[in-house]
């Protein structure tokens, strides 16, 4: 899959990864496309991939009774989608739906977990990157939680 390696190498999430690690990732990678409105994954499904966004937009949603699907976050070019594949029981906790035509590189989760178990250096590099993503998302979620635009009576 030579065409995917340069795409992976230049993605902000994987910047700085050693060549040998990049090659390991390429082995788990494939190109995917979603039409506007298509689900990328559903809550409860097995988390068998994570996604590196090339372009388009994906909304992470929760379906709430009487409210319908509530989008709580959106991701676009340069973002990463999904970390439920990292930790057992490896199930998606939210829906993810493309709101525009979206191109992504999907990385097979089982393939990734096996390679990380065998090469702990690769595993640590990925963990560090995901930890930063989770930290940013936790901060952002907390700020959203504060409802700063709300009017207190």
């Amino acid at each position: 899959m030579h065409t995917l390696e340069p795409l992976l190498a230049e993605h902000p999430f994987l910047k700085g990864l050693k060549q040998e690690h990049l090659e390991l990732l390429v082995g788990c990678a494939s190109n995917v496309r979603f039409e506007a409105g298509a689900f990328v994954f559903r809550q409860g499904q097995e988390a068998n991939h994570f996604y590196i966004l090339r372009d388009g937009k994906v909304a992470v949603e929760l379906f709430a009774p009487q409210k319908g699907a509530v989008a709580i976050d959106t991701y676009g070019e340069g973002d990463v989608l999904g970390w439920s594949w990292l930790l057992p029981p490896y199930h998606w906790r939210f829906d993810a739906r493309a709101t525009e035509p979206t191109r992504m590189i999907s990385l097979d989760a089982r393939c990734m977990r096996t390679k990380c178990e065998n090469d702990h250096d690769l595993g640590y590099e990925l963990m560090k990157r995901f930890a930063r993503i989770i930290e940013q998302r936790l901060d952002a979620t907390r700020w959203q939680l504060l409802d700063v635009y709300g009017v207190r009576s």
């Binding site: 909304a59 509530v70 676009g76 952002a140 635009y149």
Partner: protein, 271 residues
């Protein structure tokens, strides 16, 4: 320090709690020149006075425009005004946005919630003199799609080829296909050159704080970032003491401040 009287020309409901008043001088007073970012003290007969930022076009001083929410006695009084009603105006007061000093730079405008209203005059001025600036990026975050202020105008700005507009909401519904998430998420990817950018931020203080931090992280100089602060005001001219924040009087040293000058104050509790 006596108010001048203006009459209401038009009332527009922007969202279900935000409204705009367009005022014209009662009794033939001259047009009302002001700088983007300044505010007036608006007086409702017998009820009281509040500081409200001017949200109109500095290039059209004949009409005075204010956008606000009805959250207290006076603003609720403003909400009941109809065409032809009269209110008192004192002003314009305060230090405004550095629209002229920012010429030659890329501009990032970051607005949160009703914070778009005090920034709109700056946006009008930037657009009126578009060729004096580099890139113009407008980032706007608000609670839900229903709370988006000046939606038609935002869409018109976005339609221009020389302006980048990104809007995000904290919570969305089924029919919203735009960005969801906190406004700072829009900063890392916004297309401006950090080495020659001036940023103007307005919104709730917490939002301005984390936005300034994010811009700083992106590499914008802290002396090129400007915020609009808010405090209780009674006189608007630096004599009643209410608006003090540290050593500054928000009414006359602000409301627009350079971030590096007030960075310390922002991180102190209850200051």
């Amino acid at each position: 320090m006596l108010p001048d009287f203006f009459s209401v020309r038009k009332v527009r409901l922007e969202t279900d709690d935000t409204f705009t008043l367009e005022l014209a001088p009662a009794g033939g007073r001259q047009p009302f020149p002001f700088s983007a970012g300044q505010f007036n003290m608006l007086y409702v007969h017998g009820i009281g006075e509040v500081p409200i930022s001017i949200s109109g076009d500095p290039g059209k001083p004949g009409t005075l425009v204010h956008t606000t929410r009805a959250v207290g006695a006076v603003t609720r009084g403003l909400r009941t005004l109809k065409k032809g009603d009269v209110l008192g105006v004192r002003g314009p007061f305060g230090v405004g946005w550095p629209v002229q000093q920012a010429e030659g730079h890329d501009i990032v405008v970051v607005a949160g919630g009703i914070g778009l209203a005090p920034l709109r005059p700056a946006i009008y001025q930037l657009l009126a003199n578009r060729d004096r600036y580099g890139k113009l990026v407008i980032l706007y975050g608000t609670r839900t799609p229903a709370d988006i202020l000046f939606r038609k105008e935002i869409e018109a700005w976005r339609a221009r080829l020389d302006v980048e507009v990104y809007v995000t909401v904290d919570r969305a519904t089924d029919s919203w296909h735009g960005n969801v998430g906190v406004v700072t998420k829009l900063i890392p990817k916004a297309p401006f050159d950090r080495t020659r950018t001036v940023a103007m931020i307005c919104g709730p203080e917490l939002m301005m704080r984390f936005t300034a931090l994010e811009l700083d992280k992106r590499g914008v100089e802290t002396d090129h970032i400007y915020l609009s602060m808010e405090r209780n005001m009674k006189c608007g001219v630096g004599l009643c003491g209410h608006c003090q924040c540290g050593a500054t009087f928000i009414c006359k040293d602000g409301p627009v401040f350079r971030y590096d000058a007030i960075k310390g104050l922002l991180s102190q509790r209850e200051i």
